[in-house]
Amino acid sequence: MALTSFSFLCFFTITAGIYYVIPRRFQWMLLLAASLVFYYVSGGWAVLCFLLYGIVITYLAGLTLERVKEGSKRKGLLTGIFVILTLIPLFLLKYVRFFGLSAPFGALAPLGISFYTMSILGYVIDVSWGILPAQRNPFRHALFAAYFPQMTSGPITRYSQMAGQLFAPHAFSYEQIAFGAQRILWGFFKKLVISERLAMAVNLVYDQYPVYQGWYLVVATVCFAFQLYTDFSGCMDIVLGVSQIFGISLPENFTCPYFSRSISEYWRRWHITLGAWFKDYLFYPLQKSGLFIAYLDWSKKRFGKKRGKKLPLYTGMLILWFSVGMWHGGSWNFIVGSGLLHWFYIVSGELFTPLWKRLIALLRINTEVFSWHFFQGLRTFFLVNLGFVFFRAPSLRTALSMLASMGRVFNPRILFDGSLCRLLKPQDWVLAIFSLLILLLVSVLQQRIRIRETLAVQNLAFRWSLYLLLFAAVLIFGCYGGDYDAAAFIYQRF
């Protein structure tokens, strides 16, 4: 059940309606039932079983680990076992082919398995570390694992963030409903009007890249950057909006990532919960582990105190980014595009920092002005886009071939001679650009004010006109449903 589908809207509306009619103490049970129904309808019994497996394993893990003595070797071993058991379905379904093994479940890809696995794994580790008490009620634990708004695209939540909200009663709040609905509408706009529209151009070029070379690939990659952002963040808006209507706040996953001035900043703004999860549950524990402490000692002795500190850090980051890349997909183009390439950017950025500082001083560049910040933003966007070539391409080899084509085939005239109309109709280009400008405006405003709260105090007529206009824009300009082909309606039988 796609988030932008009519069936999801109906499902959610009915669930929300019942949610505020039933006694509040049963609300969390309704959410659990709805979540299981959602999962079943989306994937059937087979995929539901994987979810139930994860729920059962991590529930038992919590209860077991809580009883084991803190800091004991047994705890570590048990934690490792439960982590592996939790990761088994993910491995079998997503990564088995990467290691050259045959996939036992064929092309089965349970909805959101990458997301909920991280959430429940985080729960197991938190309990193991003594940060949380284990959840004794299996149904409450199931709700945390299966909460349906976040199943398809995240965000990756922590038990500590969710527990207080999921099981608490929620009174009807007009403000929450209104804000949630506004957010959903905005998400639909981003997803259907912008993302799906740009996808047509991107798919055409990337699927037929031997035909579309050079600057076609450049244009398509830039379009992909916005397609991916509006798709993912649009889904997040819908997810957070839906959840807000239930009175449950989910963590933000995007904060205008293309305004970033460095790769590090980019990953603090893009898929925030993923980065935070890997940092908290992989990177930091790794750095604090006995192995890495020994590694640090050896490195300091070998390379000196200053340089020696860097090696374990960069090694840890390598493992981190490799894992981030793997999470995105079990193939090298994802590992490089969303992982290793970014590791390279960050590490080389750090290594060359003294050189950049000297260059900036030599050229007397003022780094406190808008022009410099704008340059940094463009540079970051460019570097991110290089990664997107790998991310979008079907394979590593194809990605490298595309990059070579971008460098080899020099045809910027396509930007001016109407060639881009092969990718999208002129009207669609105009609409896409106009919509992106609206997105830019909203993003800039978001940096300065809280938009929904500011709108809420405006006059009713203005607010409602804006909402109805946005609603109409989604209905008219959204790419969904059938594509009306006037030619098919021309009566030709004589």
Binding site: F6, Y174, L475, I476, G481, Y484, Y491
Partner: protein
């Protein structure tokens, strides 16, 4: 509590507004099939009919639309009828439309053109048949059963047509916006008065009983049987017909004849040469293409069919029936449409001039030429009768004139670029200009635009645009090359 009540009311009002916006957009975005076949107008016109005022329903597809004129049946025989075809209407849709008709009408006779028995229609045909049908159990059953038959058919797109048509945003036209407030009544009662003639020398399909029957389309056959059963249940006399069609053959005839015999139904095949002769039907003159009749053919068919229906089914004449006064009110409008169709069917200039009506405003733009001096006296006489200053016409000069009620409203003559512009009484703006070519070879041209829409035919000669003040529309735009023997009309 008061706050909560206020909030709930506000929510409710906003949801109502959302629904209204959705419905408004749906109305705008559904295609308005007002082109040649007028499917939208036909469906909308049906819903404007008063209840229980139709004695005969004419069913079928485009051949019914152009071949069977309910107003001819009324005008000639006083029969109250409505023609219910949409383009390529599959018999599946005809069955459901008959059920829909029976919700508000009680016809005693159904006349079904069987053309679609032999064809498989595309999805577009179903959409044209169902998109404008009002929601009821009949429509729900029709679209649900239709969409259940194939996985790629979306029931949601029928329930919420906007999901199917929203991508028309870059192809919207004025009629999409004016549809909501437009008059839905159809003076032709589902008929389209077609113009044009064709070159087919088709003299009919002689009977050939030994010819193997053609195979019927499976779905169409199934739903023809449903129509037969429905008519039996509702006590409606079903008459199967086939309008004249150049593509008809003995195999097709035998298929239908066999079926008619099996179910004891009358079948009138107008492709029978004897019947065509009885109607004085000349395919080349009375049809617009290989499948469809023009206004002349429809009048002949209507006359024959009307008499047949009266004799066979004892149908009452509704001429003086006050309950059927709506037909009398619509008759003048129908006659105007009929006259316009006949005008735009003319192929010779003299014949064309004969068909001009008093209510027309004529926009003449004449590229000067020596050939004008050689126009036949008959033509000049006709032009004078219209109020045209023929001395100027035959002088060979460029000439522009606007004629109305046998008078010249405005004119301009001479070498150069005559230009006339202004506004008619009904506020329709016009602009007329002539351009002389740079040399003998390049030739002249003309521009005649009304309400900023260009109508002049390309070329050099006598350009005429005919504006019907009664119907407030342009009904013909011709070019006559004075140098061409025969003075044929070009469009």
């Amino acid at each position: 509590m008061e706050m909560k009540k206020k909030e709930l009311i506000r929510c409710g009002v906003f949801l109502v507004l959302l629904a209204l916006v959705f419905q408004l957009l749906t109305t705008i975005y559904i295609p308005k099939w007002y082109g040649t076949w007028q499917s939208t107008r036909i469906v909308d016109g049906f819903y404007e009919l008063p209840e229980n005022r139709v004695d005969v329903v004419l069913l079928g597809s485009s051949q019914t639309i152009m071949g069977l004129s309910p107003m001819e049946l009324y005008r000639q025989c006083g029969i109250a009828a409505y023609s219910f075809g949409t383009e390529e209407q599959p018999l599946y849709a005809t069955y459901y439309w008959l059920r829909e008709i029976l919700r508000t009408q009680k016809p005693s006779v159904a006349v079904l053109d069987v053309n679609e028995l032999l064809h498989t229609s595309g999805e577009a045909a179903y959409r044209k048949a169902f998109d404008y049908m009002k929601w009821s159990r009949v429509k729900w059953e029709a679209v649900k059963n239709h969409c259940d038959r194939a996985e790629d058919l979306s029931l949601l797109s029928y329930v919420l047509p906007l999901t199917n048509y929203h991508s028309r945003w870059d192809a919207l036209e004025a009629e999409d916006f004016t549809y909501l407030i437009s008059d839905k009544q159809d003076p032709c009662l589902g008929f389209v008065a077609a113009n044009g003639t064709c070159d087919f020398a088709y003299a009919g399909t002689p009977p050939s009983p030994d010819e193997e029957p053609d195979p019927a389309d499976e779905e169409a056959y199934c739903y023809l049987l449903e129509i037969i059963h429905l008519c039996e249940e509702e006590n409606i006399s079903l008459l199967l017909i086939k309008t004249p069609r150049a593509g008809w053959n003995a195999g097709k005839h035998n298929l239908v004849a066999g079926l008619a015999e099996e179910y004891q139904l009358p079948f009138v095949d107008f492709n029978d040469p004897k019947l065509m002769e009885a109607m004085d039907f000349d395919y080349a003159r009375d049809a617009r293409d290989a499948s469809h009749l023009n206004i002349y053919g429809a009048e002949k068919l209507g006359s024959w069919l009307g008499n047949y229906l009266k004799e066979q089914y004892d149908l009452p004449s509704r001429w003086e029936d006050p309950d059927y006064a709506y037909l009398k009110e619509l008759l003048p409008l129908y006659e105007m449409q009929s006259q316009n169709a006949k005008l735009s069917t003319c192929i010779e200039f003299t014949d064309w001039l004969e068909h001009l009506e008093e209510r027309y405003t004529l926009f003449f733009a004449v590229n000067g030429s020596p050939a004008l001096k050689r126009l036949p006296e008959e033509v000049l006489e006709q032009l004078r009768a219209l109020g045209m200053g023929t001395d100027i016409v035959t002088s060979g000069a460029d000439y522009g004139a606007i004629l109305q009620d046998r008078q010249v409203l405005a004119w301009q003559a001479g070498l150069g670029i005559p230009e006339l512009f202004g506004t008619l009484e009904d506020q329709t703006s016009y602009k007329l200009s002539l351009i002389r070519g740079e040399n003998e070879e390049s030739g002249g041209s003309a521009s005649i635009s009304l309400a900023n829409e260009e109508f002049a035919t390309e070329g050099e000669g006598i350009h005429v645009v005919v504006y019907d003040r009664g119907l407030r529309q342009v009904v013909d735009a011709i070019l006559v090359d004075a140098e061409e023997p025969g003075l044929f009309v070009h469009r």
